[in-house]
């Protein structure tokens, strides 16, 4: 029974975090510096999620040829910068990963 209470508590905590600023909107006047931070949230948060996936292998930074994800990721970054097309970026990234893992 403890497990269900624990799950419920974790669900409430998770929801509370996600609901926090949505609920507060309109009820407080955020300082200007706070509003200026917000446009950077997608770039900062998503890059923080992505960079370790590309640079780390089992928790260690690996830059050489034994880290195909890094090079496939760089291919994806170049394709995304040039064509701004989601499916093309994903396709080229996977293709690069596939070719690098075979070689």
């Amino acid at each position: 029974m403890n497990l269900w209470w624990l799950m419920l508590a974790c669900g409430v905590i998770t929801f509370g975090i996600r609901y926090s600023f949505i609920a507060a909107e309109g009820h407080y006047q955020p300082p200007t510096w706070f509003r200026r931070l917000l446009p950077f949230v997608p770039i900062a948060a998503l890059t923080a999620l992505t960079a370790p996936e590309l640079l780390l292998v089992h928790g260690e930074i690996v830059l050489g040829g034994s880290n195909p994800r890094l090079w496939a990721g760089l291919v994806a970054i170049i394709v995304a910068a040039l064509w701004r097309n989601t499916l093309l970026t994903i396709g080229c990234g996977f293709l690069a990963l596939f070719l690098l893992q075979r070689s």
């Binding site: 403890n2 497990l3 269900w4 209470w5 624990l6 799950m7 508590a9 974790c10 669900g11 905590i13 998770t14 929801f15 975090i17 996600r18 609901y19 926090s20 600023f21 949505i22 609920a23 507060a24 909107e25 510096w33 706070f34 200026r36 931070l37 917000l38 446009p39 950077f40 949230v41 997608p42 770039i43 900062a44 948060a45 998503l46 890059t47 923080a48 999620l49 992505t50 960079a51 370790p52 996936e53 590309l54 640079l55 780390l56 928790g59 930074i61 994800r69 496939a72 990721g73 994806a76 970054i77 995304a80 910068a81 701004r84 989601t86 970026t89 994903i90 990234g93 996977f94 990963l97």
Partner: protein, 231 residues
């Protein structure tokens, strides 16, 4: 853009990420069962908690018999970055009724946020589109929710017989790249990405993904600290 178009835009935007999320969901199902969590509870957790990495952690800590308070605290830390998403979408959702705010907060995952945010940022405030913009987030949120439930179910029912190591997880970083790279159109945004990425790599060993949250904060500060120049 009417609500159907907005919903399907969100749904379509999250689809590539399902490729990467599905293997995680399956593995979660397997890990949960191995930790001694009954199948029904493992499934229910995907609806009640609905947070990928937090569910993994929860399953592992339950399996290891960790104290309840520590487990709940760890889950909170892992999900801390979602507060940033909450702040980011809050202005768009400001005028919605309470039931919408609750629903969209419940669905606010990394993937749903990532899929919707480029489109939400493109909608001008007080334009006719802005009245339907929340349907984009609902589309991406619902798509991810449904995919996560199905993947968890597959993990719980079929379990370890599923091939989990196809490399499909790489779809997630690739989609994030496709979303972030076109957004980098100024020095400030470039510095935000650089700082966030560097700090995330350096702090990767911090427990409960605290490093991710610190990295995101570092990115925000780096972006704002860059002097703004007229274009």
């Amino acid at each position: 853009m009417n609500r159907t178009q907005a919903f399907s835009l969100g749904l379509r935007s999250v689809m590539p990420m399902l490729l990467g999320v599905a293997p995680f969901g399956v593995i979660y199902g397997v890990v949960a069962l191995q930790s001694g969590i009954p199948a029904l509870a493992a499934m229910a957790m995907s609806s009640i908690v609905f947070a990928g990495s937090a569910q993994f952690l929860l399953a592992q800590l339950v399996g290891a018999g960790a104290p309840l308070l520590l487990t709940a605290g760890a889950v909170g830390l892992v999900n801390l970055r979602h507060a940033l998403y909450s702040a980011s979408v809050a202005p768009v959702l400001a005028r919605l009724p309470l039931r919408w705010k609750i629903l969209l907060a419940y669905l606010l995952t990394d993937e749903a946020y990532a899929a919707a945010i480029p489109h939400l940022m493109a909608v001008k405030p007080d334009s006719p589109q802005s009245a339907q913009a929340h349907w984009i987030l609902f589309g991406s949120g619902f798509g991810l929710w449904a995919g996560w439930q199905l993947a968890t179910l597959a993990g719980v029912l079929i379990g370890a017989q599923l091939p989990a190591n196809l490399g499909l997880e790489f779809a997630l970083p690739l989609t994030f790249i496709a979303i972030v790279v076109p957004m980098i159109d100024s020095r400030a945004r470039f510095m935000a990405a650089l700082a966030a990425g560097a700090v995330a790599v350096v702090l990767t060993a911090m427990p409960y993904k605290v490093g991710l949250f610190m990295a995101a904060l570092a990115g925000l500060v780096a972006g704002v600290a860059m002097p703004r120049r007229a274009k």
